[in-house]
């Protein structure tokens, strides 16, 4: 029974990683860059949702709000966080990454790190460094098997949201015109441009989607561990990036699989081996997987042509 509850924790944590990893993997697949600022976009999403909810509960909702009103306020603040992050993603891409489209990948990487520092310090200046206590979007837990197995509603919601996003994104990439453009850009940017695809707006769109997902991930992450501070996004960001590589960077099902596996490994390592070493174990598994399968679990192997 213990095992099952650790597994469920792992799956819900893994779903959060998967949502973040989707942002990394889409941007990598299309713009061929490691967007290290992605973790901080998550944090910004968390802050926007935090302030929106506290604003709603203090001034919009009355003394004794109905459940429907609270739910509406929560959904509203999540949507607001998504809008803010989407705009942020587009602005970051336009100002910092677009001028470097032709530059080497390291230059873009350093710029992304600069953006990450910028976001962390801007948030610290605006909202202070003191950690905020985030109220989970849903509370309570489901009791199964006569109370022996408890699953929090946040965990259920996280998994459900992750599946919805996964299905939605796969359909979008596979069926819509924009999705086709994205796939074309990731195959060959130059050829896509020759076919009349607007590469810049496609990349902007990728950043917009990735950042909107980051906002959702931010809200879920803060509901899972309710401490919000300017550095909240960095470690989950790194782990999600690891998850993206684990599953094969550039591949959307890979990000999903990698995220889930990483979450489960982390939860199991914490429960059965060592809390201190859970990150080390997680990274060790990653190394072993990459040594056996150098392009990740579902990544495409590209043989070098001479």
């Amino acid at each position: 029974m213990e095992f099952l509850s650790y597994l469920i924790t792992g799956i819900s944590l893994g779903s959060i990683y998967a949502i973040i990893a989707l942002g990394y993997t889409m941007v990598y697949g299309i713009a061929k860059m490691l967007n290290f600022a992605h973790g901080d976009v998550i944090m910004v999403g968390g802050y926007v949702a935090f302030y929106a909810t506290s604003f709603a509960s203090s001034s919009l909702l009355g003394e004794d709000p109905t459940t429907a009103a609270t739910a509406l306020a929560t959904v509203g603040s999540v949507l607001l966080a998504m809008v803010v992050c989407t705009v942020l993603g587009i602005v970051i891409e336009g100002l910092a990454y677009r001028p470097l489209r032709q530059a080497g990948s390291l230059a873009v990487l350093i710029t992304a790190i600069g953006v990450s520092y910028f976001l962390q310090n801007a948030v610290q200046l605006l909202f202070g460094a003191a950690p905020k206590n985030f109220t989970p979007v849903v509370s309570g837990q489901l009791q199964l098997l006569g109370g022996r197995l408890r699953i929090s509603y946040v965990a259920l919601l996280t998994v459900a949201v992750c599946i919805v996003i996964m299905v939605g994104l796969t359909t979008f990439i596979g069926k819509s015109k924009m999705g086709k453009a994205m796939r074309a850009c990731s195959e060959d940017r130059g050829a896509a441009q020759l076919m009349g695809i607007n590469v810049n707006s496609t990349i902007s769109m990728t950043f917009a989607i990735g950042s909107a997902l980051a906002a959702v991930a931010g809200v879920l992450l803060c509901s899972y561990s309710p401490v919000l501070q300017p550095t909240t996004g960095s470690m989950p960001g790194i782990k999600a990036f690891t998850a993206a590589v684990f599953g094969g960077i550039g591949s959307i099902p890979g990000a999903f699989l990698g995220g889930l596996l990483l979450g489960i490994i982390e939860s199991m390592a914490q429960a059965y081996i060592s809390t201190q070493l859970s990150n080390a174990i997680l990274f060790a598994v990653l190394i072993v997987v990459l040594l056996v399968k150098p392009s990740g679990l579902l990544g495409k192997y590209m043989p070098e042509k001479v």
């Binding site: 001028p99 470097l100 530059a103 710029t111 953006v115 520092y117 070493l277 990274f283 990653l286 001479v306």
Partner: protein, 368 residues
């Protein structure tokens, strides 16, 4: 013939750049020492001298991996961390055996370099089989693993020798080492090493920078260095002319790790407290920023970038709250200005107007 003449000229100009680099470091050292002896340096500036030397060694050695070998490493601080803690352990446990601080410091630095080289070898053999971003993520992973392992490390010393324990399950404390009464607690898990004797000096930092420069510059200009650069430029072509890829990659990677370990040992002996958490992913990134801003493969560029970027946050201290924000903005702007084709050409035109052409393109533009 003309071509051969040109390449000879190019090698000569490269040698010239090397000598200027040595000369610049020596002059900077003399100036700082004179200023320090006359008491013209504020406390904060003199406190920065040793860390700057350490970070110069870090940047130059990372440049060997990233610029010369052409592999992106995101775990360089991990090697520094190995150097810090093996250096501190060595220095602290030899405290009674070797009273002379200088000798102890040198032994500690050698130990730091040695252990970092061993870890570099262990990391390098599997890692260097991977390519590109996968290699980057694995170096990142190794850096984090090293950090977590050192966080669990408990080390003490008494007459019977070293006592080492690994606190995997969070149940062990310093008591479980079973130290005798006059034992010294050296590393206390996540608290790190506390109560170190601060024996690092600026002179030693300068010597270490010079050693690093001699090692790296001679390596680059040697047959081995040319082989490493050939692998960077075209791995398949290099392999087809009979170069042993793994061997040369390992030489560069392990040298880089050993130098980082030596820098770490000096760094550790400059502070009374060091924790493993200081040498995380962000520390690796910091050094990478120095290397990229200084120019990949450009050694003197790394030195200048390190000094400027290390001093910059301190110089911005009067804008206390805004300084990291300003640092981030400056970082982004510098990257945009130096890498955007439009801005770059505008900058070049400006440079020509000022009568200074881009002489250093051969050096700085070694890697695209």
């Amino acid at each position: 013939m003309q071509k051969a003449g040109k390449s000879v000229k190019r090698i000569k100009s490269l040698a010239k750049v090397d000598y200027i680099t040595y000369l610049g470091v020596i002059i900077a050292f003399i100036v700082m020492t004179v200023l320090q002896s006359r008491g013209m340096l504020s406390r904060s500036v003199s406190g920065m001298l040793v860390p700057i030397c350490c970070y110069i060694c870090m940047a130059v050695s990372l440049n060997l991996t990233v610029g010369i070998l052409g592999e992106l490493s995101l775990g360089h601080a991990g090697f520094m961390s190995v150097g810090v803690f093996s250096g501190v352990i060595t220095a602290m446990s030899l405290q009674s055996a070797i009273p002379n601080e200088l000798v102890r410091m040198i032994i500690a630095i050698v130990a730091g370099a040695f252990f970092a080289a061993i870890v570099g070898l262990i990391v390098g053999i599997p890692v260097l089989r991977l390519r590109g971003d996968y290699l980057a993520i694995v170096t990142l992973a190794f850096g984090e693993i090293i950090k977590d392992l050192i966080n669990c490390l408990l080390v003490g010393w008494d007459e019977n020798g070293l006592h080492i324990a690994l606190n995997f399950d969070g149940t062990k404390t310093m008591e479980s080492l079973g130290l005798s009464e006059n034992g010294i607690e050296i590393i206390k898990g996540a608290q790190g090493a506390t109560g170190n004797s601060r024996i690092a000096t600026f002179t030693m930092g300068f010597v270490l920078v010079m050693i690093t420069l001699v090692v790296v510059l001679n390596l680059i200009r040697s047959r081995t260095g040319r082989a490493v650069m050939a692998i960077r430029d075209n791995r398949i072509a290099a392999e087809s002319v009979g170069l042993n890829i793994t061997k040369y990659k390992l030489i560069a990677f392990v040298t880089s790790a050993a130098l980082a370990g030596a820098a770490g040992a000096l760094f550790g002996m400059n502070y009374s407290n060091v924790t493993a958490a200081q040498f995380d992913f962000n520390a690796s990134i910091l050094v990478l920023v120095y290397v990229v801003l200084g120019g990949l493969g450009n050694i003197w560029g790394s030195i200048v970038a390190t000094v400027v970027l290390y001093v910059l946050p301190e110089a911005l201290r009067e804008y206390s709250d805004y300084r990291m924000l300003l640092y981030a903005i400056i970082l982004i702007l510098v990257m945009l200005v130096t890498n955007n084709p439009t801005l770059r050409s505008a900058l070049d035109i400006l440079g020509k107007h000022l009568g200074r052409g881009k002489q250093n393109d051969a050096e700085g533009g070694a890697v695209s």
